[in-house]
Amino acid sequence: MIRLEEVYKIYNMGENEVRAIDGVSLEIRENEMAAIIGQSGSGKSTCMNIIGCLDVPTSGKYYLNDQDVSHMKDDELAEVRNKTLGFIFQQYNLIHKLNVLENVELPLVYKGVHEKERIEAAREALRKVGIEDKMNNLPSQLSGGQQQRVSIARALAGNPSIILADEPTGALDTKTGKEVLEFLQKLNGEGNTIILITHDMGVAEKAKRIIRISDGKIVEDSGHSVPKTEHERSGIPGKGNVKRAVPKAAGMGDAV
């Protein structure tokens, strides 16, 4: 699904160059939940930008779903992002002027989905994160946890094959953060590929695979997790409030 081959990202800062990513080779398969962990400045965000097709590597190859995206132009990357990637950011990154529903609709707007269908899909995504009742509110009228749920709904709305979360719990309190993580685990359980970026080992532990990065290099990789069987997949974490019988409709708990 994701294959990086000898990827470098080098910034030229006048005389000296900064190797934000210094020769990374990495493969992440479908249905994996991987955490990229590292200290501040280690190159996590740069890595996520490249995986998320927000940026292209200075050299090296990046194959996404067997398609070489390392030399794509702006608009081609935009299309790839729109079709295959969902982002969850630390700062939620909701558009303040748009209400919750309109925010969640955005990826579908750019996909060219018709209004009626679009609203239906956006409501479905909001229902999934348990916040459909707030769809006419503005983001500023919601709590941090609620806003992050909206951003998760937005990431899900376009039905992407990969969800990228950059410090998704960074701005949340411990309890809400935990609920968000559990929800991500549940999504992974439902078959979504999830890449989690964090500096917090406590957060990274929720993933089955931990990739440690330092000075732009991978220094530790807990290994390719073996793709699970259908039986295993439906049976994972089993934690807290995940209702197994109706996984699609399960919420993240009303306390968020």
């Binding site: 992002r81 990154n93 558009i95 002027k97 707007v109 750019y110």
Partner: protein, 391 residues
């Protein structure tokens, strides 16, 4: 990005920051309003002038003898012969001798214009008599001191009494009133109602100059007026042998000249007003640039969700065009209102042109698109990572 959403967003941001939107639109409002006001007033002016020329008859030709460098004059008989010899082109003729006089009756007096004409003049110029009669052949033949007075003179001199048969003094000599003209312009001073007709033979005595230097002729067919004009010109040249000694003008030429003059005047004025439209466009560009910077993060978010350059481009251009066309609409409404107000205050005819309204509106939309292009392009070219990191 669909049009509807961009449009709704643009309207929303116009509404949320009303003061800023108003100031942004101000240049466009002023520009559009001044164009509308100017065009309405110029239109009114040209309509007034055209209709006053038209009331003289579009088939009228005037001949003026300047008499420069020659003592040769054009006699009534020569003009008469010309008309008689060209019945397929020329219909009627009348000499036209004007003089400024003081008209007195009893204790009342007015300063007015006396026009000396012959018996055809009322037909040629559609002058209607309500009481009595117009100048007749016998009057001119015998140089009778009779006159036909306008409604203004009737009102000022006779104050409602019947003027027919009375005697007025024109520059001291007595003239008998034989006819009263129909009122056409509310009996205002200086209007078509402020006139006295006398036989041209009598008028030469009232005028300082005994020569007849002006004739009115009518063409048989308005469409053939140029040929009629040539006929007159040929005769004139054979008499004077100098093109500068006379001038032949057709009324339709005059109307054309007036229209040309007013429309080129309008063009200059509208051009000046157009400068304020450009200034308005720059104002919009300025605010759009600020808006693009303010919304860098929003642009980053949209791009991360899959917005292409053209999507961002379209969003900002629609926003700029919405702002400028809102300004345009306000300008149009304000302009029409102000034009009518100016018309009342300055006592001018106001004719708003729907063409001008349509053009003003399209120009304001166009200005939004043109001046929104640069900021929109700036937004569209933003790098999503830099934009996302911005705060």
């Amino acid at each position: 990005m669909n049009f509807k959403q961009s449009f709704r967003l643009a309207i929303k941001s116009l509404k949320t920051s009303k003061m800023r939107s108003f100031l942004t639109m101000l240049g466009i409002i002023i520009g559009v309003a001044s164009v509308i006001i100017l065009v309405s007033l110029m239109n009114g002016l040209s309509q007034d002038m055209t209709s006053s020329f038209e009331s003289m008859g579009t088939n009228t030709l005037t001949v003026n003898v300047m008499g420069r460098g020659t003592n040769r004059t054009l006699s009534v008989e020569e003009v008469e012969t010309l008309v008689e010899e060209n019945p397929e082109y020329l219909d009627q003729y009348s000499p036209r001798v004007t003089a400024s006089v003081t008209a007195k009756y009893d204790v009342n007096s007015v300063s007015t214009t006396v026009i000396g004409v012959n018996e055809f003049y009322d037909d040629m110029q559609s002058v209607a008599v309500t009481e009595g009669r117009f100048i007749q052949y016998i009057d001119t033949l015998r140089r009778l001191k009779v006159c036909v007075i306008g409604a203004y003179e009737a009102q000022e001199l006779f104050e409602g009494a019947d003027p027919i048969g009375e005697t007025v003094k024109l520059n001291g000599s007595s003239y008998k009133v034989v006819g009263l003209l129909e009122e056409t312009a509310d009996s205002e001073e200086g209007s078509d109602d402020d006139v006295i007709y006398v036989p041209y033979t009598a008028a030469t005595r009232l005028a300082d100059n005994a020569r007849i230097s002006s004739y009115y002729l009518t063409a048989v067919d308005t469409d053939e007026i140029e040929t009629s004009k040539t006929v007159i010109e040929n005769m004139m040249y054979s008499v004077f042998e100098d093109e500068n000694a006379y001038r032949v003008t057709s009324m339709s030429e005059m109307i054309e000249a007036v229209n040309e003059m007013t429309s080129s005047m309008a063009l200059v004025l509208v051009g000046i007003a157009g400068i304020s439209l450009v200034v308005g466009g720059i104002g919009i560009m300025n605010i759009m640039l600020v808006s693009v910077t303010e919304r860098t993060r929003e642009i980053g978010i949209r791009k991360s969700l899959g917005a292409k350059r053209k999507d961002i481009m379209r969003q900002f251009i629609i926003e700029a065009a919405t702002t400028s066309s809102a300004g345009g609409i306000i300008g149009i409404i304000f302009g029409i209102g102000a034009a009518y107000a100016a018309g009342v205050i300055m006592d001018m005819t106001v004719v708003p042109s729907w063409n001008a309204v349509a053009i003003a509106f399209s120009v304001s939309v166009g200005i939004g698109i043109v001046f929104g292009y640069f900021p929109a392009n700036k937004a569209a070219k933003m790098n999503p990572i830099d934009a996302l990191r911005y705060d």
